[in-house]
């Protein structure tokens, strides 16, 4: 009974998660709990499984989950289709934002917003309210409205693509946002804008998982917890100071520690 009571506060619970792609084991037993209002950073060297974890949360089918569980607000997330996860409130900001010729951001977002509302039993949003909401949210991430009328991400700069991801997050108002290397390829100004956008969207009701290779993004999106992923496992967890220590000592520190064991 006590655990049931406690689980109310836990938004996301990952237990002993194992996954592979084709024959290659990538995740070898991940455990993670995220509560509403928290920001967790997941760091680690290339190939440690960070992006795999992010993709599995969103439901990408190229990975096969071979063991463990993911519970999101009491629901078995692994049982849900990618669209239902999104409609439950999970959002993935893509590491490599997709380009879709002929589909504008506005066009698909209108469909997405209403698909989510329908799932929640809410009425479809009319065009006027949608445009009003859009105008407000463009300000949050400082994105040019004309971009949103163009084919999704086609001909966008790296910064524009990442800002567009955060804009979509703002529009969809997820409970759990997973930012997969949102900092990669951004210069410092773009990074600040993106981080600022994320910070404005933080609240006590939602949570953020920031997946990143570098500490630099965490200067702007300050995490409550930092986890280090190495070779398919979380090998170290701590507070934001851990990120600084990692930055100072480099990933070899983790690698050496773990190969020694």
């Amino acid at each position: 009974m006590t655990t049931d009571h406690l689980s109310l506060f836990i938004m996301l619970s990952i237990k002993n998660l194992q996954a592979r792609v084709e024959e290659k084991e990538i995740l070898k037993g991940i455990n993670l709990e995220v509560k509403a209002g928290e920001v967790h950073a997941i760091m680690g060297p290339n190939g440690s499984g960070k992006s795999t974890l992010a993709s599995i949360l969103a439901g990408r089918e190229t990975y096969e989950v071979t063991g463990g569980s993911i519970t999101f607000e009491g629901k078995d997330l692994l049982e849900l289709s990618p669209e239902d996860r999104a409609r439950e409130g999970v959002f993935l900001a893509f590491q490599y934002p997709v380009e879709i010729p002929g589909v504008s951001t506005i066009n698909f977002l209108k469909t997405a917003v209403n698909a989510i509302r329908e799932y929640r039993g809410e009425e479809a949003m009319d065009a006027v309210s949608f445009l009003k909401m859009m105008k407000e949210k463009t300000k949050v991430v400082e994105i040019d409205e004309t971009l949103l009328k163009r084919s999704l991400n086609e001909g966008f700069s790296g910064g524009e693509k990442k800002r567009n991801e955060i804009f979509q997050m703002a529009m969809l108002e997820p409970k759990l946002a997973v930012l997969d290397e949102t900092d990669s390829g951004l210069d410092i100004d773009a990074l600040k804008i993106v981080a600022n956008g994320v910070n404005k969207l933080r609240s006590k009701n939602n949570a953020v998982i920031v997946v990143t290779h570098y500490q630099r993004l965490l200067d702007y999106i300050v995490p409550d917890y930092v986890h280090v992923l190495y070779n398919g496992r979380i090998v170290k967890s701590g507070t934001k100071e851990l990120a600084l220590e990692l930055e100072a000592k480099g990933y070899d520190w983790i690698k050496n520690e773990n190969t020694a064991v």
Binding site: G59, G102, A112, Q168
Partner: protein, 423 residues
């Protein structure tokens, strides 16, 4: 009796009462070709992927007198001159072209002056086969539209071709001739529709002759039922600085073969060719196009796109001929296809034959699936798979749908296509 014999037999009754507008010599010559060549088979290179065999023994009625009236036609919601054919025969009472006489001559091709026909009729025939010969031999029912010098038709001309098989299978052979005088412009729309549960076979030919500085837009919308067979040839002959814009859209019919032949016969002409085909069930859609660059300094641009589902088959054959004299030619061609099912087939064949040396030509053909990453992305934003697929298919089709320059018509056809793509 098979179709070839039916045609030969029918000709005996037809010949004595045939209009003299088309010369008797031409008719006789053509019917001899039908006897000699027969209906095209897959042994002919141009018919390699499209097999008409299954319907050759259908007891078609030729020159079938049309049903009295028909409310089976869906008229587009646009302001237009309207011409209605039922089973290949013009139905005057259903047509309405009031006011067009201020801009053009419009009459039945059987009433055209022989001098006019000898000048414009059957002037370009890069490929000949038994069906085209049959159409020529029986050239009687069809529209002759001649737009006066410097006149722009204020409204598009929409020609509805209804196949009515409520009284049995029918074989129809309309033949149209459209001439645009110098500086004239016109929009011509052909819509193919059907009613009844029996087999229909339309063997149509429309010829366009563009004088200097004239401007043609022509559209072909195929929306017959699953019992409809269609072989159509549209030919555009260009004179100096003339412009054509063609869009051929096929989303229904059992077997559809669209030939589009463009002859750039003088300098500084421009031709745009667009095609969209959507195959499902066991539909067969074949687009054969030819752009004949005969003279220098012409431009052509071609984009054909197809989505094939279930066991449907698509064929694209795009020929570009750049003849010896056609220096400074710019010719571009692209054919893009999406296969939605394991059992769908696409045969695509770009064919460039270039005999001039100072030219810019490019072509490309792709056959693929819907972008998996894009689908995952849309789903990860909360859009269900079926809807995500539809969004991608619509976006794919939009490149061609956007080329319908009449806004109300574009909207209507886009909505029809969206309905068709809905799971």
């Amino acid at each position: 009796m098979n179709l070839k014999d039916l045609i030969l037999e029918e000709y005996k009754t037809f010949a004595p009462q045939a209009s003299n507008a088309v010369s008797k010599v031409l008719r006789e010559e053509s019917i001899k070709q039908v006897a000699e060549w027969g209906i095209p088979t897959i042994k002919q290179e141009e018919w390699k992927y499209t097999n008409l065999k299954s319907i050759l023994d259908t007891p078609f009625r030729l020159n079938a007198s049309p049903a009295a009236t028909s409310n089976a036609i869906h008229y587009y919601n646009i302001d237009a001159y309207k011409l209605v054919f039922v089973n290949g025969i013009l139905n005057a009472s259903l047509s309405d072209t009031k006011g067009i006489e201020a801009f053009a001559t419009l009459k039945s091709i059987s009433e055209a002056e022989p001098a006019i026909l000898s000048k414009y009729f059957n002037k370009f025939h890069p490929f000949q086969d038994g069906l085209q010969a049959a159409n020529l031999a029986f050239a009687q029912h069809g529209v002759y539209l001649h737009v006066n010098k410097g006149k722009a038709l204020p409204k598009p001309v929409v020609v509805y071709f209804l196949s009515d098989t409520t009284q049995g299978p029918i074989f129809a052979q309309p033949r149209n001739l459209i001439v645009l005088e110098q500086g004239a412009s016109a929009k011509w729309i052909e819509s193919f529709q059907s009613t009844g549960n029996d087999t229909s076979f339309t063997n149509i030919c429309s010829e366009f002759f563009l004088h200097q500085d004239s401007h043609l837009e022509q559209y072909k919308f195929q929306q017959e039922n699953d019992k409809a067979y269609h072989v159509g040839t549209s030919q555009v002959v260009h004179l100096e600085k003339s412009y054509s814009h063609s869009a051929v859209l096929t989303w229904s019919g059992a077997l559809v073969r669209n030939n589009l032949n463009i002859h750039l016969g003088a300098e500084y002409c421009e031709a745009h060719l667009y095609g969209l085909y959507l195959g499902n069930n066991s539909r067969h859609i074949d687009n054969h196009t030819l752009v004949d660059h005969a003279m220098p300094n012409c431009y052509s641009n071609e984009l054909y796109k197809g989505i094939l589902d279930d066991q449907s088959t698509g064929v694209f054959n795009g020929k570009i001929w750049v003849q010896k004299d056609a220096q400074k030619t710019n010719a571009f061609q692209s054919n893009k296809n999406v296969l939605l099912s394991q059992k769908a087939t696409m045969n695509t064949k770009p064919q460039l034959e270039i005999f001039a040396d100072d030219v810019k030509c490019s072509h490309g053909a792709t056959v693929g699936q819907l972008d998996e990453e894009a689908l995952f992305f849309l789903r990860a934003r909360g859009i269900p798979l079926a809807q995500a697929r539809m969004l991608l298919m619509q976006a794919f089709s939009d490149d061609v749908l956007n080329k319908i320059t009449i806004p109300a018509l574009q909207e209507e056809i886009t909505a029809t296509i969206a309905q068709r793509l809905r799971p």
